[in-house]
Symmetry: C2
Subunit: 349 residues, 2 copies
């Protein structure tokens, strides 16, 4: 086994503290990363707090990992020592079902293996996330980080990036389209940049006037304050696609009204409670309310290459691992522009 | 003006009573129908009761009209005197917007003209529906009834038929697919027959064990009792498409769970109140919750021709116009298999 050090929660809502643990020995198809940076996703906080009721402790969060390859198995072909590699939300899957064969490992019918909080496939060895100094992962589940990308700012692409890129591509967003992005947070600010790079006219919806300036700076063609009925009404039936990144409670019917006939709104946030839905919102205009969830490995690599080509990374605030609990407190108040990234060099201090 | 006799409601929840009125004189592009049969749609009852708050009285309901052409304008090309023709839910539209040009007159951006409860385009002459002895309609909004179809049983195709045919075609239901139909009423029984004729394996979902025999007789390959959690669980992730025809309150999330990855459930019913919706139901599996609303003229004709080719009509219970109030009382209790159709010859008695 490989010895590791990270930060873990030992029970729900407990502060994260230093934690020593072991990872599996690498096999012939594995690469070992020295972890350099790890993004802080809101899911990490939900997992620490056991909001979904399925957390096993101790929990080392982190699924937006960028690192340097320090060891490669004998059968590894895509990586060599010294390369920069990334790990996203999943580190394994059954590899045999239809979704796995079609590049949708995240929809693996047997259940994909989470980067943290799961078990190494076929064992009872827990998977621990990227708030740590290293990771052992099958080459198939590692991503190549293009050289032109800033390593720290690329880390959030591995979850926030693919979560927004995947639906924008799946529903074929492109030039000539008017696309809405609902919410300007970790996901929303990536969605905005990617939709713009795909050539669409992009409208940001935010509840807060204070986001207007940032929205325009990040590439929005227009910013609509969603709490203003007059502004919302003026957008009626004008959108080819809307990406809704909001996890807080909000009125989805108000956005469905903004779609053109035959158009789709896609949710990527997961509000904790059910939200009221009016059938009329989709019946009139033959509209669709869809969902999307991260992305498969092939598409995640495609997204990284797309981001390199268009010079897209996340807007980040770098922290040391010792600041993680303070960062969580700020994250709960949505007080971050727009993603915390942990400099894992701080683990050594 | 042309004199007409029909049955009208003069205020909300009032019984329908005989009513004399006038229709506009036919123009060069118009046909005049002697109305022979008219289906009784649940929307008629909603309109009579002013459930949507927009009813103008007196109201003559009826938008599933089959009749005989008794007069044609000089510019009419598709009909001659003696032909059988049908009228569905709309009798005009702006004819100039994108939806109108694309055969989606029902989504006319200026608002289509309803067969009853609206006004003749550009006038204040009310449109009165098919619970009457005649109708004056532009040729463009009249349908050809194929000779092989029983006239009375074909009437409900003009609303219930197109409402279910349109989404089944739009989402490309066909051989090799497993398709769910939720609810066995006026819409559901048509959806079941059409989905079967399109070549799909069809599963009927009903709350009531009493519908099993009828469901199988009407073409279902399987009947699932939706109130039985074990039966529902066994259907998980198995459906390529689900058509939900239920207007009563019900749990849509329970059906979204039955869809395969990347599949769609389409609603054609309009429950009065918003229903709780879990984002998780669509996020996991990249599913879609869509809606559909009747259909355009071109597609309605295509549906009639398809039904003739496959020998599909509605299962009906024929009534005289004098029984309409009793029929409404039964309709409120869903006590009809599966559509009342008024024999308009009874108007003369």
């Amino acid at each position: 086994m490989i010895t590791s050090i990270g930060y873990a929660a030992t029970q729900a809502r407990a502060p994260l503290l230093p934690f020593n643990f072991e990872r599996r020995d690498p096999g012939e198809y594995d690469v070992v990363l020295e972890a350099l940076f790890c993004g802080v996703c809101h899911s990490d906080l939900h997992a620490v707090n056991n909001d979904w009721g399925s957390t096993r402790y101790p929990l080392v969060p982190g699924h937006e990992i960028v690192g340097k390859v320090v060891e490669v198995g004998s059968a590894v072909t895509r990586f060599k020592i010294g390369d920069h590699a990334g790990i996203g939300c999943l580190v394994d899957s059954c590899r045999e079902c239809a979704p796995c064969h079609e590049g949708d490992e995240h929809f693996c019918e047997c259940g994909a293996t989470g980067t943290y909080g799961g078990f190494e496939r076929g064992t009872r060895i827990p998977t621990y996330g990227g708030y740590s100094n290293n990771y052992v992962v099958a080459e198939r589940f590692a991503l190549t980080i293009p050289q032109s990308l800033d390593l720290a700012a690329a880390a959030p692409l591995l979850c926030a990036g693919i979560t927004t890129y995947s639906p924008l591509r799946h529903w074929r967003v492109g030039p000539g389209q008017r696309v809405g992005i609902v919410g300007l947070g970790g996901l929303g600010h990536m969605g905005l940049k990617i939709a713009k790079a795909l050539g669409a006219v992009v409208v940001l919806f935010s509840t807060s006037e204070s986001k207007r300036e940032d929205g325009l700076r990040l590439g929005a063609d227009e910013v609509v304050i969603s709490s203003d009925p007059a502004q919302m009404k003026a957008q009626g039936n004008r959108f080819d696609f809307i990406l809704d990144t909001v996890s807080a409670e909000h009125d989805i019917n108000a956005y469905l009204r903004l779609l053109k006939r035959d158009s789709t709104m896609c949710l990527v946030g997961l509000p904790e409670k059910p939200t009221p839905f009016n059938a009329r919102s989709v019946v009139l205009g033959r509209k669709s309310l869809a969902g999307s969830f991260i992305g498969g490995l092939r598409e995640t690599q495609e997204m990284l290459d797309f981001c390199a080509e268009h010079g897209i990374v996340s807007d980040i605030e770098m922290i040391d691992i010792q600041q993680i609990n303070e960062a969580y407190a700020r994250l709960e108040k949505a007080d971050v522009k727009y993603r915390f990234v942990i400099d894992l060099a701080s683990l050594k201090s």
